[in-house]
Symmetry: C2
Subunit: 350 residues, 2 copies
């Protein structure tokens, strides 16, 4: 079942069928109808690889995420994807639609590079890299190199939630500012002994949030001990749990714990409860991201809201070239403090 078959049935040339299907060229209404009917009758579906080869571009858009099981990435990826299908009508066989494909790197630099190669091989129309980047120098150079190679071969490269690189449009997240305001909130409540559960050391997101926290602590003259009250782990629940136990070991008199994200914060809460400590009466807890479950946690989690859906949608539009690039190719996504019940003034008795 090929274009030629359709052409024969519609009694036109293959070129005409191609023009009807891609819709980017004037075709007489009568012929167009005839072609469309033939397409229907034959249940013809364009051969993607063939057209990608001939046109030297494909309709694939790759979305790289660090962990698709984490709603943080699920929300962003879903939003990117929702921008692609907007015009998807009922008629099958037609094309012009982009196929956004989500690739799960698991946070591994090698897999990230591998997917980039895979997408380059597919001649993807665009690539969206989401979430914190790994800061290892070699890897950063490798990614930057791949990105410019992609860009120079016509693939649009969009970054969402990581630092800018050349040849890419970037949406950075206000991790530093948000983290800083969050810790300031705790400071304002009167906390002085604040533990921090950070993510993996080499991630940019981890570093930015930690810097924001430290900036707030420094400004309050609390450099001392801040270092000692920081524990690194993964961006998951069990790391939060373990880190909390470790923090408690280091300082029994802690009155607050800030987690690098909401998922970690969940683990922090679990550990605190298992230790017989009440939230926020004994220890205040705060997270970051404001994932859907955070507002429902008990007590509701104080956190920093990042408009993930909007950011993902915008990244998708940027990837399609449907939105003008921000000045300088970089735009920052603002974050917002969500003060809820998991944070309160420290107990006077402590």
């Amino acid at each position: 079942m090929t274009l030629a078959d359709v052409a024969a049935r519609a009694r036109v040339s293959a070129a005409t069928v191609s023009r009807v299907l891609s819709g980017n060229y004037p075709v007489a209404e009568s012929t167009r109808a005839r072609v469309l009917r033939a397409v229907d009758e034959l249940e013809y579906v364009v051969n993607g690889p063939a057209s990608a080869l001939a046109a030297a571009t494909s309709d694939l858009v790759g979305v790289l995420v660090n962990d698709i099981a984490d709603p943080f990435f699920g929300i962003i990826a879903g939003a990117v994807q929702s921008e692609m299908g907007s015009a998807m009508g009922a008629e099958s066989g037609r094309h012009g639609e982009k196929l956004a494909v989500i690739c799960n790197t698991g946070g591994s630099p090698e897999r990230e590079l591998n997917y980039l190669t895979l997408l380059q091989r597919q001649r993807a129309a665009a690539v969206v890299l989401t979430g914190g980047a790994v800061e290892h120098p070699d890897h950063m150079a490798a990614v930057a190199a791949k990105a410019s190679r992609l860009a120079s071969s016509g693939t649009r490269v969009v970054l969402c939630g990581r630092p800018p690189i050349e040849d890419a449009v970037t949406l950075t997240f206000d991790n530093r500012g948000g983290a800083r305001r969050l810790t300031e909130h705790l400071l304002t409540l009167g906390h002085r002994r604040i533990g921090y559960v950070a993510g993996p050391a080499e991630r940019t997101t981890t570093r930015d949030r930690l810097e924001g926290h430290r900036a707030a602590m420094s400004a309050a003259g609390l450099d001392e001990g801040t270092q000692r009250l920081t524990v690194h782990g993964l961006y998951d629940r069990s790391s939060g749990y373990d880190a909390t136990l470790e923090l408690l070991r280091r300082d029994q008199a802690l009155t607050a714990i800030v987690a690098a994200n909401d998922t970690i914060a969940l683990g922090v809460c679990a550990a605190l409860r298992d230790q017989g400590l009440r939230i926020p009466d004994d220890v205040s807890v705060a997270g970051f991201d404001d994932l859907p479950f955070s507002a429902d946690a008990v007590p509701a989690l104080t956190t920093v809201r990042l408009p993930l859906h909007e950011a993902g949608a915008r990244a998708g539009r940027l990837a399609l070239g449907r939105e003008p690039q921000p000045p300088g190719g970089v735009a920052m996504v603002r974050s917002e403090l969500m003060a809820r019940a998991s944070t309160a003034p420290p107990r006077a008795t402590k």
Copy 2:
């Protein structure tokens, strides 16, 4: 940068380079090395569309999910994808690797069909359909038709978590059995007035779980009222919240609420708390799926565990033809009751 460039540099024919790269044909070790070096020096990356066209197959594997922001699907999709990259070595440019791409249908039948067409157009190597199917007759017929067309053109079709169809290998989930055991657990605790918050009416998952629940109620002679104490909504938190308010309106003396999944259960808990009801003292709550956050909820949520990661991984292997098909093309994934703190005997005073 094409095969021909590499061939010229390695002083061999294009055919030889192709053979080295696909590795499915004997080539002298010395030439192979020469070719590989040329590939490296030129940073050559195979043109996917071109090779897909020539070979009439691509290395794309599509994974359709109803809602990628929901960890239920994130976990399955991540697991499918993790089976693909297993052999991904460091060398770029090489191929043979599959690219698993996740497509988010948002639960819309049209988008599901559209993605199927898109994947058919890409001549995908396999397609994995996950999660409950929409039971509208027309749509089921359309999906079945698409599936057999895909199958007949060499695309493997795998179903994960939905009822079997012809031309597809299927992994069904034990939704009915799990739901039944869950309600039995509540019955055993002494509950009689049990509310049920179901998912969207037309989903197979919704129906199966509801049937399991009703079967348990019937067996206990509790048909009466079961119908009245069932409310349908979406598989999300706010539906659970609203449904709970509605249930309470219908029967103030409810002692337990079963939710069609954990996310809904979260909303149920929130509503109950907002109404000043304690869990499980006043009302017991149960969910389904055992997502990661469920064990951490307060109180820990009683639910039915589905081995999502294993199921997804198996679906991935099936899609790659790396695992023998189960007898009859259908295998059932067992579920397991996880009795936790959110369920307890009803208050004697009620």
